[in-house]
């Protein structure tokens, strides 16, 4: 009886629309978390710590909202018997996307706790790294949206994700080389600290790429 009720809701009810809206909102939050982090880091590099902290708490809120939304989507997919054939893929996709928001939260919280000293000659590189990561996340959310609506465009976005992730890797390496070759940094620990943050930020692009990798497989599975 329960199955019947759920089946009919899935077939004719408003659940499908609600689910579609929730997925759209979730993707917006993922993108938003990366944009907020970019803004937060820029404020940090400009020495505006108070504003940085404000943005950091925004990132926390976004991450929390995304988590709740993801749980709701999961519940709807299973309880209402929607897309039984690809719900496993959709859930895995959302869970991998969750790593992106987690990472954004993680980076902002480490900046807040450790207060790393970013030398001015590295400032532009960190900005560029952060901008590139945001581009990677933006592109991956476009790829996921395409998976739901315009399957044939997934590949195009996935290729861009790979491109931007590669760019992020190069900037990360550039920062590390600059840090370890620079004359003006007296303590070795500060060099290591810079390397650590460059790697941490770059991991956001890595997480986005992990989503893209899954997506290419799911897109093949979904093609008729």
């Amino acid at each position: 009886m329960r199955e019947k009720k759920n089946g009919s809701t899935g077939l004719f009810g408003s659940s499908a629309k609600a689910l579609e809206l929730n997925i759209d909102r979730y993707l917006t939050l993922v993108e938003q978390s990366a944009l907020l982090l970019e803004d937060a880091i820029k404020k940090y590099l400009d020495g505006k710590f108070e504003l940085f902290e404000h943005q950091r708490s925004e990132i926390d809120n976004t991450e929390r909202e995304a988590d709740n939304l993801r749980r709701d989507i999961k519940h709807r997919l299973y309880a209402e018997m929607l897309i039984p054939d690809s719900r496993g893929d959709v859930l895995a996709l959302l869970e991998t996307l969750d790593n992106v928001t987690d990472k954004a939260k993680d980076v902002s919280s480490h900046f807040s706790i450790e207060r790393p000293e970013v030398y001015p000659f590295l400032s532009d590189d960190f900005r560029e790294l952060m901008e590139t990561c945001v581009k990677t996340v933006g592109e991956v959310t476009l790829a996921v949206r395409a998976f739901f609506r315009e399957l044939y465009r997934v590949t195009e976005h996935v290729e861009k994700v790979h491109y931007w992730e590669h760019q992020a890797d190069e900037i990360e390496e550039r920062i590390k080389r600059k840090v370890f070759r620079a004359e003006g940094i007296p303590e070795f620990s500060k060099r290591v600290h810079m390397r650590y943050f460059a790697e941490r930020i770059s991991q956001i692009a890595d997480e986005a790429e992990a989503v893209a990798d899954r997506l290419s497989v799911y897109a093949i599975k979904r093609s008729i």
């Binding site: 077939l11 499908a16 689910l19 897309i83 054939d85 690809s86 739901f148 609506r149 008729i224």
Partner: protein, 349 residues
């Protein structure tokens, strides 16, 4: 109707049961296996529309089968039907490809050989021709449907969640058509050999004339419905999850294409329409549903550029063309001999 008549009908009832148990799974296997459609929905649709197809449109293909050899004594019909059923059962157990259509044709040829009635060569050529054209037509229709569906999906950009809903509706509609066509075309395999020796008499209910043949087709439909209710769930789960894994949209294409093939070879209305316009019409004979389905699956693989094309499926079809009728004919000939000489029953007039 006499008790003997009922007993002799049992082999037909078994064939009907087997049609419901196995062939209904070809219609709703993927839909139920992937949980897109509930089993109960699938079963009710199958039961209703197989019976409707059989009663409304079953006579055409049965006539085509009758032209091959009109088994004219009930004990003979019993033997032919039972031997076809046994061949299907044994070959399925042995893991060999099998089609009810080909088994019943073999059974009838066995009866023709035993009774000395000539096998109508034209009818035989037509029927054997459809074994070839059925899968080919299935492949062609599926090939075209694939591009049609693909174009529509690319143009409309339907969200995955909504596409799911439309796919379910599509699977149900295609299932309705599939079940109707199955009843219209393949019920001939179940009751075709009983038509000339039908134990049912014409009768009138509330002023509506119901012929003996209609009653026979209705009984076949009921037997198929019992098969659907009692056994098809297991087969559906196997088809949906193991045998050939299809995406729900591909499954829709396969069902619609298979149903179209069966319909083309069963519809008297379409035949009359085509003939009235001087166009070549499709012969009304039973065609193998599973082979039309395999043809459709091959059509989709070809549309995708030949990826994952399983040539073993093709080999299995060709094997079925030869092995099934030969085995059924031999079995039927031997069984008719025993029926006549050991059980002292008249197997032909």
């Amino acid at each position: 109707m006499e008790i003997a008549g009922l007993i002799f009908l049992t082999s037909g009832l078994y064939m009907g049961w087997s049609l419901g148990a196995n062939d209904a799974a070809n219609i709703f296997g993927t839909a139920v296996g992937t949980r897109m459609v509930r089993f109960r929905t699938a079963a009710v649709i199958c039961a209703i529309f197989i019976t409707l197809g059989a009663v409304i449109s079953g006579a055409g293909a049965a006539g085509g089968l009758g032209a091959l050899g009109a088994v004219n004594a009930l004990p003979g019909s019993f033997v032919v039907s039972a031997c076809a059923a046994l061949t299907v059962t044994f070959m399925t157990r042995a893991g060999l490809p099998v089609s009810t259509t080909q088994a019943i044709v073999g059974g009838i040829i066995g009866w023709n050989l035993f009774s000395g009635y000539p096998t109508d060569r034209d009818a035989l050529t037509t029927i054997v021709g459809t074994w070839f054209y059925g899968p080919l037509l299935g492949a062609l229709i599926a090939f075209l449907l694939y591009f049609l569906v693909k174009t529509i999906l690319e143009r409309l950009n339907i969200h995955l969640i909504h596409l799911d809903r439309y796919t379910r509706i599509g699977l149900i509609l295609a299932g309705v058509f599939g079940a109707y066509s199955l009843g219209a075309n393949n019920m001939a395999n179940v009751v075709g050999v009983f038509v000339a020796a039908s134990p049912f008499r014409d009768m009138s209910v509330a002023g509506v004339q119901i012929t003996g043949a209609h009653q026979l087709f209705a009984v076949g439909g009921i037997a198929a419905s019992v098969g659907v209710a009692t056994y098809s769930r297991r087969v559906m789960m196997t088809v949906g999850s193991h045998l050939y894994k299809l995406s729900p949209v591909s499954a829709f294409i396969v069902i619609a294409s298979t149903a179209t093939v069966l319909f083309l070879f069963a519809s008297e209305g379409l035949e009359a329409w085509l003939q009235a316009r001087g166009l070549p019409s499709f012969p009304l004979v039973p065609v193998s549903q599973s082979q039309a389905a395999v043809g459709s699956i091959i059509g989709i693989s070809l549309a995708r550029g030949g990826r994952n094309l399983n040539l073993k499926l093709l080999r299995n079809i060709v094997l079925g063309w030869a092995a099934t009728p030969a085995a059924a004919a031999a079995l039927s000939y031997i069984a008719l001999f025993f029926m006549q000489n050991v059980f002292m029953q008249q197997v032909y007039v």
